[in-house]
Symmetry: C2
Subunit: 105 residues, 2 copies
DNA sequence: GGGATTGTACGAGAACAGTCGTACAGAACG
DNA sequence: CGTTCTGTACGACTGTTCTCGTACAATCCC
């Protein structure tokens, strides 16, 4: 189990936008927006474990989340500070947009 | 030639992020950031005409650009106001991030 | 009208993304 | 030590995306 996390200077905007340009991962982002730690299994419902692993990898390799093993769980946490340093304002505007998008038009 | 453009209330965040989560289309966005009209053929180099048509369709159907026939050309223009109304701050932070991403680390 | 220009439409192929099931690894708990 | 729990690894399948070439439509210009 390797769990490679890119350094902030390695973040690529296209990877971040691709990672967030998916309704499943966008839903996960809204859960993780509190910047607290959440076990992998409690963030999203309705998917197999292997599907969730796939989505966490996409988010992790883009630099969006941190994955830290803790006992037999793996805790997820939003990399808000690193994202803010690299792409100022981006995360907040995406979170605001996600909230706007979720409202009834 | 139909050129369907969604109304702002039909914009979906996931479509916008997916449209911009591609280096080719991100490069186009930076060219279009001046909010002036550009013929399809002058915005990007190195692609076939049919590839460009594909990318313009992705951007148009996400609500990112407007495509307006003008003589034998089709002019592209960024839908900055509509995007700003629907997802405030998003476009500017993506453009800033694209500039940051393009700098030498 | 005939030719050149600009771009779309369509079909094809290669690569990638999203999903799952099964198998496995590591930690916790009896 | 064996079982359970949490999550990863891998392989498979399906559908989508990206790219191109060819064909076509519309416009402009001679």
């Amino acid at each position: 189990m390797v769990l490679h996390h890119p350094a902030p200077e390695q973040f690529r905007l296209e990877n971040v936008l691709t990672a967030l340009g998916n309704p499943t991962r966008l839903a996960a982002l809204r859960v993780l927006a509190d910047c607290r730690q959440h076990p992998c299994g409690v963030v999203l419902q309705g998917y197999s474990k292997s599907t969730l692993t796939h989505h966490w990898r996409v988010l992790r390799e883009a630099g969006v989340i941190w994955q830290e093993p803790a006992g037999r769980e793996v805790l997820l946490r939003l990399r808000r500070d690193d994202l803010e340093a690299r792409f100022p304002g981006l995360l907040d505007s995406v979170l605001n947009a996600a909230a706007a998008d979720a409202e009834p038009a």
